[in-house]
Each structure stands twice: as structure tokens, then as C-alpha cells.
């Protein structure tokens, strides 16, 4: 267990300390994403939407950071690691690939939550948005379970990469915009209708956003599903993705050793 924790900490280090070493993230990872968010704010203001929609958009903009982190820093990371020669070293170290992936997840989460908080803070200040969190423990529980599910999905994608190689990278590209749309980052997912919403709920962020909006705007946000139901589904998704990720990881590692796809040098 101690070795596992050390490996997780070791792998998360470049993402937590190293990635923040270059201060340009303050601009590229907060100001630029905010521009897209601000556009939606002005659309809602122009339409005369209730004030809470501005809050929706700012929360959605912050959540986009997590989705991008999962796609580009989890799913596609092994592609870059393979190019750089790290992947074969990760396969040979005794801590194993799961510890490396957990470290990537933890480091990615810490780096992203800093950015997300910055986006929420700046956006809320700019547009004078006020939140009323009715149940902080539940809010944090929803957020925590969603993050576990989301990064479990990220590990699943990273496992698929071991077999698909560059095709998985194209798939990451493919998932970006449809997920932005379907997950209700910028509008209540209820607007998509029940079945489309349920389909979109496979992405943990969909129900997480809806549940957090219920807690941030109690009584005014039209929920997709009751809070308890959404939390239950999120927990089931988190467990499912973790189990699936573990299974796929083992299978993909075996196939990668059999097919010889881990390394560029032969």
C-alpha cells in the first residue's frame, strides 16, 4: 500500500508542481476558457433568461476543464508517453500501470480544480453571481463521486489507447464537442428530453452538473432527476467505470505485450 501511495504521489508530481511552474496557465487555462463562457452569458442575457442561467454557464465552464483534462491528460496521455518512451518504462516498474494512472488522475484533478475554482471565482465576480449551497456535505459528495466516475472513465479510455493507439486519440477529439453539448454544460440537460438526457448521463458530469445546480439554486433549478436518484446513478457509474477500467487495463496490457504495441523502438 505504501508503495502504491508513493507511486501515485510520484506520478502526480509533474502535474501538480511541474504544470504550475509555467505561470502562463493563469491566462491560457482561465482567461481563454472564460471567453467562451462569457459568450454564453451574453446570449442568455440577450434572451432575458433568469439570472441563474449565468450561474449555470459559469459552473459549466468550470466543468469543461475537467472534461478536457480527462480527455487530453488521461485518455491521450499514453499516446504522448509512448512517443516519449515513458510508456515502456511505466510498464516495467514494479508499482504497475494502475498506480501510474491513479497518479495521473490525482495530479490532473488537483491541477484542474485550481483552474476550475479560478474560472468560477472570476466569472462570478464579473457577473455578480451568488450561490446558495443548501447542503454543503451533499454538494461535496456529489462532486467527489462525479470526479471518481469521471476519472474512472478517463482510465478506461487510457486503457483502450493501449490497443487502439492513435485511433483512440482521434476518438478523444471526436468526443469533445458532442459531450460539451449533451452533458448540459451550458444549459439544463432536462431540455434535451428524458431519453437523450439518460444517454448523456453515461458521462458522469451530466448528472453531477444537474445535481450541483439543484443544490446551488434550490427551488429554482428544474431538475432532470431527483437529487438522490442522480447521486445513486453517479455512484453506480463510478463503481462501474472503476471495475471496467481495471478489467480493460489488464486485458489491454496483456494484448499490448502480445502484439508489441507499447514501444516505438524495435
Amino acid at each position: 500500500m505504501l508503495r502504491l501511495l508513493r507511486a501515485i504521489l510520484g506520478r502526480s508530481y509533474p502535474r501538480i508542481i511541474g504544470a504550475n511552474r509555467d505561470k502562463s496557465w493563469l491566462f491560457y487555462d482561465t482567461v481563454l476558457p472564460l471567453l467562451g463562457t462569457i459568450a454564453f452569458v451574453y446570449v442568455y442575457k440577450a434572451l432575458g433568461a433568469p439570472e441563474r442561467f449565468v450561474g449555470y454557464v459559469i459552473m459549466g465552464g468550470a466543468t469543461v476543464a475537467f472534461w478536457m483534462n480527462v480527455m487530453w491528460s488521461m485518455a491521450a496521455q499514453f499516446y504522448w508517453d509512448k512517443q516519449g518512451g515513458n510508456l515502456e518504462l511505466y510498464m516495467v516498474v514494479p508499482c504497475g500501470i494502475p498506480a501510474i494512472l491513479l497518479g495521473m488522475s490525482f495530479g490532473g484533478f488537483v491541477g484542474t480544480v485550481i483552474r476550475a475554482i479560478a474560472i468560477v471565482a472570476i466569472g462570478s465576480l464579473l457577473f455578480d453571481v451568488h450561490y446558495t449551497v443548501s447542503q454543503w456535505p451533499v454538494f461535496l459528495l456529489v462532486f467527489g463521486v462525479a470526479i471518481v466516475g469521471l476519472y474512472g472513465l478517463g482510465v478506461t479510455f487510457a486503457s483502450l489507447f493501449l490497443l487502439w493507439g492513435r485511433e483512440a486519440w482521434h476518438m478523444a477529439n471526436l468526443f469533445m464537442e458532442p459531450v460539451f453539448f449533451l452533458s448540459g454544460f451550458y444549459f439544463p440537460v432536462r431540455a434535451l428530453g428524458f431519453w437523450a438526457g439518460m444517454g448523456a448521463s453515461l458521462i458522469p458530469l451530466t448528472l453531477a452538473l444537474d445535481a450541483m445546480r439543484q443544490l446551488l439554486f434550490p427551488g429554482t433549478h428544474p431538475p432532470f432527476l431527483p437529487l438522490g436518484t442522480e447521486l445513486g446513478i453517479l455512484a453506480a457509474l463510478a463503481i462501474s467505470f472503476i471495475v471496467l477500467a481495471r478489467f480493460l487495463l489488464r486485458k489491454m496490457e496483456y494484448l499490448a505485450r502480445r502484439e508489441g504495441r507499447l514501444s516505438l523502438r524495435f
Binding site: 510520484g10 516519449g84 518504462l89 516495467v92 516498474v93 508499482c95 514501444s263
Partner: protein
């Protein structure tokens, strides 16, 4: 009885290939074709061969990156297929031209990160990192970002990474490729020192530099097209070269002087060369050259040059493979 550090029996590794103009039948590429090796603990074993011979594939099977297609391989008595975790805890691998790690980290941070993958406590790990950096001459660069390192510095850092866990078996895959003379020499010197420091440490080194294999290795195996075609100590391999050691002597024309009958002279081949005579002398023992020199001196024949030529591994390679190592590389590259 100690188990061998590395043991392979009829090891085969094939790669499945798609059909292509170069491979219309889609036949698999056989990278290893029945390799049988036995490396005892404490030995520095060299694997010499051109690009595409199977050296890297063999290492990848032994470090558990690839599964064998057929045959068996064991590291420290552990099966590379079924006992993967146990092997990984006791080995390490360093490749030439490695660009592992992350450029935003400093040398020390990068090495610390890898130490954590082996479960080393931070404080002793950092002490060990500093100690190894001093030994390889990188201590002054410990706080420099790895993206700013030269190729030689980076490879020294990679070597330190490989040694952090104090492995029982160290796999070095062309560790000096692309390095300048000084950096390569420093790395070779430390490799020699490292294996001597603790009994039982084993190194499997792949290289296509003949002099590196001769300098470092207790035994060398020559691999070509996935097969081991010879394996022995470098000195013993060189004895296989047809002709063996000889003396090359340049003198004035002999005008009837015969050297073939002199004591200790097994064979004397002569050829005219720009008005001089070049003699190729195969002697029963080196001391016999004194007799040859005396005869020439007594006959007032000036000696322009005298060299002792020992066979090289390259000559052994050429005789076994039928072409020079560089020619084999060029043929593989399609040039």
C-alpha cells in the same frame, strides 16, 4: 547452486504484419528465431549485432514488455510470462537515446519521481540520487530542467534512473548510441565500476559497437537475423578469426632472402607495394619476430614499419555473417 541471471531456451518472437507491397503474403516477421542463452549472475554479457538483428526484441522479452511467441525465458529463475511482478522488482532497463520523463521537471525531481515507482522512501532516495549524480558528474546540473540537458547529460541521468533501485539485473540497450566520445567513455567507465562494486550484479548489454563489447563484456554473443551465431569471451571469439594474429612488416625488396624457413615462422606472405615489400608473417609465438628482424638487419634491409595485427570482433563478425556490421545496417535500412 545459484540460478542463472538470464536463461532462454529456443526463444521465438514473431510480429504479425499486415499485407504490404514489401510483404504481400503478410507473413510474420521473425525477430527472434530460437535464441538459447545462459547468463550466470555476476556477468557482463554483451549482445552484438546490426540493427534489426533482434537485440532490442530480446531485451523487451526479458524485461517483460513483450511475450514470447514460443520457447521460454527466465530472469533470476522467474518466468517472464507468469512471474512478471517479481521480475520487475529486481531489474531495471536503460535504453540509448531515451527521452523519458518530463522536460518541466529538474534532474533531481525526475529521478525522485522514478524512485517513487520503486517504492523508495523519499529521503534515502534523494540521498542516493545525489550520490549517483556526483559519481556520473551531473551533480551540478541537479536543479536544471531536463529539457535543457545535452544528449550526454540526459543519458547519464537515464543511467542514474536505471541504478536507483539497485537492480540485480540491469538491461542496457545500446546505452552509448548517439553520444560523443567523452560521454560514452564516462558511461562505459561507470558501468564497469558498477558491476564490480557488488558481487552478483549482472548486466546484459546490447550494442553494435565492437570496441564497446570487447572493452566491457565478459562474454559476447553475436546475433544475426534473430539467431545467436556465436558466443564466447571476446578473446576466444577473436581466435576463431581465420588467420589469427599476424605481423605486418614493410621492408626493402628481399632479393631472394627467404623468411619462411626461420624458426617460429609458420607462414610468410609477401607482396610488392610501391617499390617496397610488405610481409605478412604468421608466427608460432611473438618472440619469433626478433629472428626475422635480425635476418633483415644482417642483410642490410631497412624496416619501414612493423605492426602486430590482432583479429578484431569485426573480422569474426564478417566471417560469421558474411558482411561488415555497417553493411548489414545499410542493407537493413534499404540503402
Amino acid at each position: 547452486m545459484t540460478v542463472p541471471a538470464i536463461e532462454t531456451k529456443e526463444l521465438v518472437r514473431e510480429y504479425r504484419m499486415k499485407r504490404s507491397p514489401q510483404n504481400p503474403s503478410g507473413a510474420p516477421v521473425v525477430a527472434l528465431d530460437g535464441v538459447t542463452l545462459d547468463v550466470p549472475q555476476g556477468e557482463m554479457f554483451g549482445l552484438l549485432g546490426p540493427n534489426g538483428a533482434g537485440k532490442t526484441t530480446l531485451i523487451k522479452v526479458l524485461v517483460t514488455l513483450l511475450l514470447p511467441t514460443a520457447g521460454a525465458a527466465r530472469v533470476l529463475g522467474l518466468d517472464v510470462v507468469g512471474q512478471v511482478q517479481q521480475i520487475r522488482e529486481r531489474i531495471s532497463m536503460v535504453s540509448g537515446g531515451e527521452h523519458s520523463g518530463y522536460g518541466i521537471l529538474t534532474v533531481r525531481e525526475q529521478l525522485w519521481m522514478f524512485s517513487q515507482f520503486y517504492g523508495l522512501p523519499s529521503k534515502p532516495a534523494l540521498a542516493r540520487i545525489d550520490e549517483l549524480l556526483k559519481v556520473v558528474g551531473l551533480y551540478e546540473e541537479r536543479n536544471r530542467r531536463t529539457s535543457a540537458l545535452s544528449t550526454g547529460m540526459r543519458q547519464k541521468m537515464n543511467l542514474v534512473r536505471g541504478l536507483l533501485s539497485d537492480p540485480e539485473v540491469l538491461f542496457l540497450d545500446e546505452p552509448t548510441v548517439g553520444l560523443d566520445v567523452t560521454a560514452a567513455r564516462d558511461i562505459r567507465a561507470y558501468i564497469k565500476e558498477w558491476i564490480r562494486m557488488k558481487p552478483g550484479r549482472t548486466i546484459l548489454l546490447t550494442t553494435h559497437y565492437m570496441h564497446e563489447a570487447e572493452e566491457l563484456c565478459d562474454r559476447v554473443a553475436i546475433i544475426h537475423k534473430g539467431r545467436i551465431i556465436a558466443g564466447d569471451a571476446p578473446a576466444a571469439l577473436k581466435l576463431r578469426a581465420t588467420g589469427g594474429t599476424y605481423f605486418l612488416l614493410t621492408t626493402e625488396t628481399l632479393d631472394g632472402i627467404s623468411l619462411a624457413g626461420l624458426p617460429g615462422v609458420q607462414r610468410a606472405d609477401t607482396r610488392a607495394l610501391d617499390g617496397r615489400m610488405e610481409l605478412r608473417l604468421h608466427l608460432a609465438e611473438d618472440g619469433a619476430i626478433a629472428g626475422v628482424v635480425k635476418v633483415l638487419a644482417d642483410s642490410n634491409r631497412r624496416i619501414f614499419s612493423l605492426q602486430k595485427i590482432e583479429p578484431t570482433l569485426e573480422e569474426v563478425f564478417v566471417q560469421l555473417v558474411g558482411q561488415r556490421l555497417e553493411e548489414a545496417d545499410e542493407r537493413k535500412a534499404g540503402t
